[in-house]
């Protein structure tokens, strides 16, 4: 009997020891979902990007200060006409030990550019008309048109560089283990549970990373995720729900890393009758009281937007134009009358029941617009159905919760440009204004920043006038960490979703 007690005691102690994470070595990161894929050229959502940015690096990436930081390319030059980009690669190795060469860069980029391929940003990068590799450490990109924004797209997690040899073998093998040049290398992926990465000793930044191992654990349920952080099962979580933000900030064992990143607004199907008229869209921008949305859907956390959702400090931002709209019901009614709808009209608003803040935003908008006579029925399918409808343009208007992919002003193209594909995820279907198209094309190609400012200023005027998209608020995109975790940065503005990059700086006590 005594023996049994002794053994039980020993087992208990052993268990206790292993419960606490090995200090300084392993970090547990609570992701909000399981990535759909680790294929680098696909945009899998924030969870997937977080993991990608642990394992991969591109020619350049966005750094924690929000600026472009040279990664695999230790330096680069842009030709004065912005049609030629030359990159000089540093000495860096992939996880399999092979050196990063120009051939790898070429292969990776070509894969993205493949018209039949799955590259999420193929369109944006398609201005690359040629890739030269004069020597093993130099890559020159030739563009079909001038573009100063290209760097931003090359800094995306989807533009990271992978070995050409690996691509040759595994391009269509969805289950191959990823190889990259980032601070951590892939260990395994237990479906339904976690992805484990471990320190890559050959990382080109000396002394980094600090952590030995990172476990990216999937926590689909937001409450479970928060509890896991509170109880110490994980050290960092992403997508902190608004209702828990204050509590996690207060701690005592936790800290909140907060950032205003994404915006919430509306995208309009411009083929649907009332929404083809800019007056109607503007009326909506006047009619909705932003604070109702902030309180209903975000627990009072958020900042209202009364203009175009350009963050302060970004190109195109102007303090005066930031308050173009205001909460003015009479003005809204007047605009509706002018448009020919004095008694309002009926419409369907698409959102999703899968994310409560989406659903609550829709509900808030419904109650607000009722005040000017616009009667809404809400369409709240699950996310997959919502995506399907969005891609088919099967809605009257829809709640839009997103942000710019890059910090360069050209992020606006995704949202406002017409082009040959008029129904996209983030634009207003069938919106095609030649003036805006022209402005955006010019802005992309203008090298002089003062010139650019003027161009984008004109863009903002036109965009406000037509208001194909209406923006309501900035929402918080929070991470939370346990005290003792340092070095993890919630990257500024639009880059919040790429905060996974900072895992290379993260330390845990």
């Amino acid at each position: 009997m005594k023996r049994i007690l002794q053994m039980a005691l020993a087992a208990g102690l052993l268990g206790l020891m292993t419960t606490t994470a090995l200090a300084g070595g392993t970090l547990y990161f609570g992701l909000s979902a399981e990535p759909s894929t680790l294929d680098t050229i696909i945009q899998p959502g924030t969870a997937g990007r977080t993991v990608k940015l642990a394992m991969h690096r591109g020619l350049v990436n966005y750094g924690i200060d929000g600026k472009i930081s040279p990664e695999l390319a230790e330096s680069y030059e842009i030709s004065p006409d912005a049609k030629e980009y030359t990159f000089h690669l540093r000495d860096a190795k992939f996880h399999d030990g092979s050196p990063v060469t120009a051939a790898d860069v070429k292969a990776s980029l070509e894969r993205i550019l493949d018209p039949k391929g799955k590259g999420a940003f193929r369109n944006e990068l398609s201005i690359i008309s040629g890739i030269d590799t004069p020597d093993v450490k130099t890559v020159t990109l030739k563009l079909s048109q001038p573009s100063v924004s290209l760097m931003g797209y090359l800094a995306l997690p989807e533009s990271v560089i992978v070995p050409a040899a690996w691509l040759a073998k595994n391009a269509d093998n969805a289950t191959a283990s990823p190889i990259g040049a980032g601070p951590f290398q892939f260990v395994n992926w237990t479906r339904g549970r976690e992805i484990v990465v471990k320190k890559f000793p050959g990382y080109y930044k000396q002394g980094k990373p600090d952590l030995d191992e990172v476990h990216y654990v999937f926590y689909g349920d937001e409450n479970t995720r928060v509890n896991a952080l509170k109880s110490g099962d994980v050290d960092i979580i992403e997508y902190v729900p608004a209702k828990d933000a204050t509590a996690l900030e207060k701690g005592p064992d936790t800290k909140l890393l907060t950032m205003n990143g994404p915006f919430m607004g509306l995208q309009f199907n411009t083929k649907f009758e009332p929404f083809s008229k800019p007056e109607v869209r503007q009326a909506i921008a006047y009619a909705v009281d932003r604070s109702v949305i902030i309180n209903t859907a975000f627990n009072g956390l958020g900042t209202p937007i009364y203009g175009i959702a350009i963050p302060e400090g970004y190109m195109g931002y102007s303090a005066e134009k930031a308050n173009y709209f205001s909460h003015d019901i009479d003005k809204a009614k007047e605009l509706l009358k002018k448009a020919g709808y004095p008694n309002g009209f009926e419409a369907r608003l698409l959102a999703s029941s899968q994310y409560s803040f989406h659903q609550n935003t829709a509900i808030a908008i419904q109650s607000e617009l009722a005040k000017i006579g616009i009667k809404l029925t809400l369409d709240l399918p699950d996310w997959a159905s919502r995506m399907a409808k969005a891609n088919a343009g099967d809605y009257d208007f829809a709640v839009l919760g997103s942000l710019g992919e890059i910090t360069d002003a050209d992020w606006l193209s995704n949202y406002y440009y017409g082009g040959d594909k008029l129904v996209r995820t983030n634009n207003s279907p069938y919106f095609d204004d030649p003036q805006i198209n022209e402005i955006l094309d010019k802005g992309r190609a203008t090298v002089d920043s003062a010139e650019r400012e003027k161009i984008y200023g004109a863009f903002v005027d036109r965009a406000l006038e037509l208001s194909p998209l209406v923006f309501f608020m900035w929402r918080h995109q929070d991470y939370a960490v346990r005290t003792g975790v340092t070095g993890f940065t919630n990257m500024p503005g639009f880059l919040t979703f790429q905060s996974g990059f900072s895992i290379e700086n993260t330390k845990i006590e």
């Binding site: 799955k118 549970r193 689909g220 995704n414």
Partner: protein, 323 residues
């Protein structure tokens, strides 16, 4: 020998019926999935990206989703008949997913049933033996409470109390038993108790009514008339007779739990089959949905079959009828 051959034939017949049932279920699921709106390809290419039509078409072709529905169905059916559940749309074999997550759900379900039986049966026996007295009323009321409290709320309360306030147990997650057996069982405790409490309540009620029914039977009086100790009458004879319906109920509940652990799995981040299924449905991952549901159905049928066999082993009167 006679009993054995009957047994084999009966089991064989049940298995044959099971195959038909599975086929019907698989066909139903197939139809429903295809009627549902939502495109898995769009989701695979990145829920926030804007794939080109060519990319979408290429992926669709790669996954075989551009084939007519009927041929997709027949192909899947043909493979499933030989045990190949196909590949999930992200490239991994469905069977891998299933074999990874199924044992976890089974473990959770079994632990929950164990908890439920350990809590419920003694409570039911006590309530039956002290019928009409205060203890019976108390226990029956507790049972009603146990059945009524929603699982999610119960689980959240337990996490709040046991894990966050008292810090006795981890709040969520899963650790391999080979990595850290102690932690593994720590993490199993709260979800098992959450699921088990509700079940315990119904097991307690079932036990109570079964015991009361047996206690009113003639043979109990005969046993007492022979001078048997009351203890022996209850624990050997009455319980043995009362066990028959209880075992049936417990078995059926285990079968139900196969697909019914979703809320608890989500709350405790327990990577089981239910979670897999829900995620697969959200992502319109057809092969994974089909494979998971067919697996759950097969398990349910198998468990029911085992319950029936167990029932006939426990009750000799049933054995006779079969022959």
């Amino acid at each position: 020998m006679q009993t054995l051959s009957t047994f084999v034939i009966v089991v064989g017949a049940r298995l044959a019926t099971a195959l038909v049932q599975l086929w019907v279920i698989a066909t139903l699921v197939f139809s429903i999935m295809y009627i549902m709106p939502g495109d898995p390809v769009l989701l695979l290419l990145g829920p926030e990206s804007h794939p080109s039509p060519e990319a979408v078409a290429a992926m669709r072709q790669q996954l075989g989703l551009d084939q007519p529905v009927l041929s997709q169905y027949l192909k899947w059916l043909g493979n499933a008949a030989v045990g190949d559940l196909g590949k999930s749309l992200d490239g991994y074999p469905v069977i891998e997913y299933v074999t990874a997550s199924l044992p976890k759900t089974m473990e959770l379900a079994s632990a929950a049933i164990l908890v439920a039986a350990i809590m419920g049966v003694p409570v039911g026996i006590a309530a039956a033996l002290w019928r009409g007295r205060f203890l019976d009323g108390l226990l029956t009321s507790l049972s009603t409470l146990g059945i009524s409290v929603p699982v999610y709320i119960l689980g959240s309360l337990l996490i709040l109390l046991v894990s966050l306030k008292l810090g006795w147990l981890p709040s969520s997650g899963y650790t391999d038993i080979s990595r850290n057996a102690f932690l593994h069982f720590q993490k199993l405790t709260l979800p098992a108790v959450t699921l088990g409490l509700g079940l315990a309540a119904s097991i307690a009620r079932m036990t109570r009514s079964s015991m009361l029914e047996i206690l009113s039977r003639d043979f109990v009086r005969s046993l007492r008339a022979r001078g048997m100790r009351e203890r022996r009458v209850i624990w050997l004879h009455v319980l043995r007779n009362a066990a028959i319906p209880i075992v049936t109920i417990v078995g059926l509940q285990l079968g139900n739990l196969m697909g019914g652990t979703v809320l608890v799995e989500a709350l405790f981040n327990w990577p089981g089959l239910s979670t897999l299924l829900v995620t697969a449905v959200s992502n319109r991952n057809y092969p994974l949905v089909q494979g998971s549901i067919v697996t759950i159905a097969a398990l349910f049928i198998l468990i029911n079959l085992c319950v029936d066999i167990l029932y006939s082993l426990l009750d000799p009167r049933i054995r006779r009828k079969r022959a």
